[in-house]
Amino acid sequence: MTTLQPSAPPADLPAGSVLSVRGLRKDFTLHTIDGRVVEALHGVDLDVAPGEHVALAGTSGAGKSTLLRCVYRTYLAGGGHIWFRTAAGDLVDVAALPDATVADLRGHEIGYVSQFLKAQPRRSVLTTVASAGTARGMARDAAREAAAAALRQVGIAEHLWDMHATVLSGGQKQRVNIAAGTIAPPRLLLLDEPVSALDPANRSAVLDLIARLERTGTAVLSVFHDLDAIERLATRVVVLGGGRVLASGPPEQILRDSSLPLEVAR
C-alpha cells in the first residue's frame, strides 16, 4: 500500500542487513530550560542482520534506549541515517521518512516492546494479543491460536484471558506485552528492557520466547538490564559509551572484557 520514498543508500552497506545505522547523532534542545542542549549520540554505526540478536550494552546514560527510540522514530534523529530494508526489498531511511510511512512500517515491519504495556482499554488479554497478529496480516483464527500459544508460553493462566488487559499486574502486563510483540514477528524487533519486572520463572519463560525468534529470521535489537539475558540471547553485543560505539563482538568475548564499561545486574 504505502509507497516508500526512494532513497539513495550508500553502496557499502552490508547486503544482508535489515538495519544499518550510519553516523546517527541525537541531542536534545531543552527550550523550557533556557535552550540547554543535552547530547546523547555522537555518530553511531550499527548493523543487524535477519535472525541476528544484537544487544546494546553500556552504563546508564550511554544512549542505549535513545538509540532504540531513534530507530523506532519515537525520537527524531539529529543527523545520520537509519537504513531499514523492507519486506519488499527497498532500503529506506527511517530518519527521513514521512510520518505516515513510519506509522505504516510500525504496524507491519518494525516492532517495539518496552516494559510498559500500552494496551487498549476494555479489551481482553486474548484479544489484545490476537489483534497484534491480525494487525500484521494474520488470519483471525490463526491469530487467536497463536495468541493462546504465546500466552501459555509466557505463563498467563487461561482464566485471565477474558479479563481486560488493563486490570493485570505489572508483571502480567509485561508478559502480555511481549506475547503481543512477538506473535507475528516483525522484520525488526526492538526490545527495551522487556523482562525488567519479572520473577525468575516468568523471566525465563519470556527469554525462551525471545530466543525462538531467531528461527523466524527476525532481526532483534535489544536493551537488557542484566548481562545474563544478554549472554543467553544475543548473537552479538554492541557496547555504547558517551554516545559512541566502543566495542562490538560476540557476547562471550565482550562480556568478559573488563575494560569495557558495562552495567552489571545485582
Binding site: 500500500m1 504505502t2 509507497t3 536534545f28 534542545t29 531543552l30 527550550h31 523550557t32 527510540r69 522514530r73 519515537t74 525520537y75 527524531l76 510520518d99 505516515a100 513510519v102 506509522a103 487498549q120 482499554p121 476494555r122 479489551r123
Partner: protein
Amino acid sequence: MSTATVAPPAWALKVEGLGRIYGDPSPESVPGTGPESGTVISPATGAVVAAWDVGFEVAPGEALGIIGESGSGKSTVMRCIAGDEDATTGTINLRGVGDGTVDVRTLDPSARRGLRLHQLSAVYQDPAAGLNLDVTAGGNIADPLTAVGWRHYGRIRERAASLLRRVEVPLDRMDDLVRTFSGGMRQRVQIAKALANDPPVLLLDEPTTGLDASVAAGVLDLLRELLEETGVAAVVVSHDFAVIDLLTRRVLVMQHGRVVESGLTDQLLEDPQHPYSQQLVAAARG
C-alpha cells in the same frame, strides 16, 4: 483526455494551504501574524488570521490529532473542513468526492452540505451543537438516516438501536428526549448519530472536554475502539495531550493560527522539537 482511470489516492482527506481570515482577506493581512509575531491580529489591516497555511493528509483507518491552546486555530480548521464556515484560501479534497480530484470548497453550498450526509461527520464538544435535544435519542439518529432516504420505520429503529448499543446507550433510553440525558450520554448519542451513515471521514472537536474525568475516560475508550473498528479517517481536535495520545498516531501542533510542528504522536510527546510543543508537553506532564 486519457480514458485510463486514475487510481484513487491513499488518503481519505487532504487539506492544503488552508487559511481562514476574519476581516480583510487580502494578502496584506498575513505578514506580522503567527508564532514569531505572537499574534493572530494583522498589524496592517486588523484582520484576524485564525489559520494559515495548514495542510495534512489522513488515511483511512488513521487518526490525526490537532493540538493547541484555545485560539490556536485548531477548531477553525475543523469548522472549515466540516463546512460550518468557509476557508479564505486553500483546498480540501475527499477521496469519496470525485476520487479525490474535487476541491470541496468549489462545490455549491447545497452540495457542500450534502457531504455531511455521506462523506464526513462531525462530533462537537457541545452535544447541543450536533443534536436536537428535544428529540429522542432514536429520532436524532433517524435524522441522518432519513436524510439519505431511509423510509422504513422498523429498519430505522433497528439501525438506531444497533448504533446506540454500539455506543453503549441503554436501549431503554432510546425513546427518551436527549435533553433528559447526562453529558456523557449525550456525547455518546452524538457519536452514534455521526456514525449513522458510515462516513469515511470523522471530525472530532474536543469530544470529551467538559465531561467529568471518569465519564470522559469512558467516551475516549469508546472512540478509540470505534476508530480502530470502523476504518474511518479521523481528525481529532483537542487541547488535551491525553486525548491525542489515546486516539491518534500522528499530530499537528498549532499556535497562533500556524502549524508549528507535526510528527508521530509518541515522538511529539517524547521528543518535541518546537519550543511551544515542549511547553505544551511540559505542562501536560505537570
